[in-house]
């Protein structure tokens, strides 16, 4: 057991780092579906936009300050894009037309990003101080990936606290459960929903930026990220924070440890796992308790 752990530590940690990024990206997709009942297929494009913010702003050896500024700018752009998407999807009620609209936006965004940044793979450096390696059980491991795991865990904790313990969180949950009632006590639900959409898109953009030093930025990455995020939220259960976390952890390990252990079947593992989970638990592992879906 110990020798197995020793041999696979790097894969396990890589899986955790991937899970961390996937959680940041997928949680927005999940919450937007839970609150607004909108299937946002432009989510991957928002995330890729975040990665290209890093490409545009960070070159050479960015300091921690530079990196934080880039994160803030990515978040701001995310909020903006989320607001636009919320406004555009608010008049479209059925899922298929939402898919048509948001995939159309994703195609336009992907084409514009390719026009601006070219078709090559761009890389983003990790900030100074996090660009080295650290010894984990005797093997060197990149510090930056450990930092992503920590950041994502902190964000998950904060999101949980905000949603479960604050007035704003209570309003969001109430909007999910009964929109008309929240409207009746004098709260503009369209603002609540726009806020959730903006926050979700900001998280996706930040997730894309944080992932850029590991995954890079290139055309087509938006589709990959979107598919992975969809798998995460479907496995975890649409509309649930804990579900997104569990789904991300599972997909992260399937994509790294699973690929190392069952390399022959590597390409089947992800969607095989998703099909299996859905056939056993059609609503996902941890579906939202309060969400009202029709």
């Amino acid at each position: 057991m110990l020798s197995w752990l020793d041999a696979n530590t790097a894969s396990l940690l890589n899986g955790l780092a991937l899970a961390a990024v996937l959680f940041l990206i997928a949680v927005g997709l999940s919450l937007v579906f839970g609150t607004m009942n909108v299937l946002n297929l432009a989510h991957g494009a928002v995330s890729l936009t975040g990665a290209y913010v890093g490409v545009a702003l960070l070159g050479g050896q960015p300091t921690m300050g530079n990196f934080l500024v880039a994160v803030l700018i990515a978040a701001a752009i995310g909020v903006l894009l989320g607001g636009v998407l919320a406004a555009m999807t608010s008049v479209v009620d059925d899922h298929l037309r939402q898919a048509l609209l948001t995939l159309g936006i994703a195609l336009i965004a992907g084409d514009l990003l390719r026009e601006i940044f070219g078709a090559d793979v761009e890389s983003v450096p990790a900030p100074i101080g996090l660009d080295g390696t650290i010894s984990v059980m005797g093997n060197p491991y990149p510090v930056y990936r450990l930092a992503i795991i920590v950041v994502s865990a902190v964000v998950a904790g904060l999101l949980y606290l905000v949603l479960e313990r604050t007035r704003i969180g209570a309003i969001v949950r109430a909007t999910v459960a009964d929109r008309a009632m929240v409207e009746a006590i004098g709260i503009r639900t369209s603002l609540v929903l726009g806020g959730v959409f903006g926050a979700g898109a900001a998280l996706a953009a930040v997730g894309g930026l944080l992932a850029a030093p590991v995954l890079g930025a290139q055309p087509g990455l938006d589709d990959t990220v979107l598919l992975l995020a969809l798998v995460v939220v479907v496995i975890g259960g649409l509309g649930s924070l804990r579900g997104a976390l569990v789904g991300a952890l599972l997909v992260g390990q399937v994509q790294t440890l699973g690929v190392v252990m069952f390399s022959e079947y590597a390409s089947f593992l992800l969607f095989g796992a998703m099909a299996l989970v859905l056939l056993i638990r059609p609503r996902g592992l941890l579906p939202a308790r309060t969400a009202v879906h029709t």
């Binding site: 299937l39 008049v91 479209v92 059925d94 899922h95 298929l96 037309r97 898919a99 048509l100 609209l101 995939l103 159309g104 936006i105 994703a106 195609l107 336009i108 965004a109 992907g110 084409d111 514009l112 589709d223 598919l227 969809l230 798998v231 479907v234 649409l238 390409s267 089947f268 969607f271 095989g272 998703m274 099909a275 859905l278 056939l279 059609p282 609503r283």
Partner: protein
């Protein structure tokens, strides 16, 4: 979703409102229109160059795939991204039969359709237990798994694709169809056959049950009808049609690659249905034609910006055509008798 404006449906529905012997305008007009469209489609090789004819053939094959998606998405209310799996099953079967057994297109069509239907039966038996978004994601998984399978399976050329498919013959011992026009006529024949099957299914008792599942599955159950067999049968029929479309694709391109089963094809097939008008049969065909024309033809005039053009098309369509192309409002005098519903 419940846009009921198709020529097909108004045909069958009109049967209730009108005494059968009287051939009224709303019975005759669609038939004349269908006849004219078939005539125009059949005469295309007489005045189009080989490249546009190849494009037209690809549109027809893709349109049949889109119709199979519509049978599930629009008619039965089960949005799917998985029909590419059966399209691929048909295309690869036809290609393998062509390389190893016979270049007879009829045999390839039959084999491809049967294999696709069998694959649909096995996978559908589990998939149709789910519904809504979950069904969409399960079918996405089916499509992606099929994509990965052919991408890694050496027997079918893996990621290189299946190349070296010989030109098809239609009659036993006949000449291989090398001219684009003859090949197009074969693809058109497969397309029309597929459309006929789809139309017959929609007009049959099975089709009524499929619409029942879409409009109120619980109600159908409450009336004592089991819905699982309906959904599975619909799934198998749709799979068979996608397989037939795949054989036509393979006959035309003589090369099948894993990319033909990709997520983008699955997404474009589903979006063609929405764009054209889910639930009608002719709407999605036009949707498919528009998508392929914009992506492959119009894009060549605007410096390869196919994705951008498609994106703009989708966004504009969502706001201007809430019920798809088939639901577009025609001037009042064109819609005689269609308001009674």
């Amino acid at each position: 979703m419940s846009a009921k404006v198709s020529g097909v449906e108004s045909d069958s529905d009109a049967g209730y409102a009108l005494p059968p012997p009287r051939l009224s305008r709303q019975v005759v007009l669609p038939r004349v229109a269908v006849g004219l469209v078939i005539l125009v489609l059949a005469s295309l090789p007489l005045f189009l160059a080989p490249y546009p004819i190849g494009l037209a053939g690809r549109i027809l094959a893709f349109a049949l795939l889109v119709v199979s998606v519509d049978l599930l998405t629009g008619v039965t209310g089960m949005p799917t991204l998985g029909q590419v799996a059966y399209f691929g099953a048909g295309a690869y079967t036809a290609g393998l039969v062509g390389i190893h057994v016979t270049d007879n297109a009829v045999v390839q069509l039959a084999m491809g359709t049967v294999v696709a239907a069998l694959v649909a039966l096995v996978t559908g038996a589990v998939a149709v237990r789910t519904s809504g978004i979950v069904f969409l994601m399960v079918t996405l998984a089916i499509g992606e798994l099929a994509h990965q399978l052919v991408d890694s399976w050496a027997l079918v050329g893996a990621s290189n694709g299946l190349a070296g498919i010989p030109a098809i013959t239609v009659l036993p011992g006949g000449e291989p169809l090398l001219l684009a026009g003859f090949l197009y006529w074969w693809v058109l024949a497969v397309f029309l056959l597929g459309m006929l099957v789809a139309w017959l299914v929609v007009a049959s008792p099975l089709g009524r049950s499929m619409k029942g599942v879409r409009d109120g599955e619980q109600r159908l159950r409450a009336l004592g009808q089991q819905t699982y067999p309906v959904k599975l049968l619909a799934y198998v029929v749709a799979g068979a049609l996608a397989g037939a479309a795949g054989t036509a694709w393979a006959a035309q391109t003589r090369f099948v690659s894993p990319g033909d089963l990709g997520f983008d094809i699955a997404a474009f097939a589903l979006l063609s249905v929405v764009l054209g008008g889910a639930g009608t049969l002719w709407g999605p065909v036009i949707g498919a034609a528009v998508v392929i024309l914009v992506r492959d033809w119009l894009a060549s005039y605007v410096d390869g910006r196919g994705a951008l053009m498609l994106g703009l098309l989708f966004v504009i369509a969502v706001y201007t055509l809430p019920r798809g192309i088939a639901g577009a409002r025609l001037p009042q005098r064109w819609r005689t008798g269609r308001r009674a519903r």
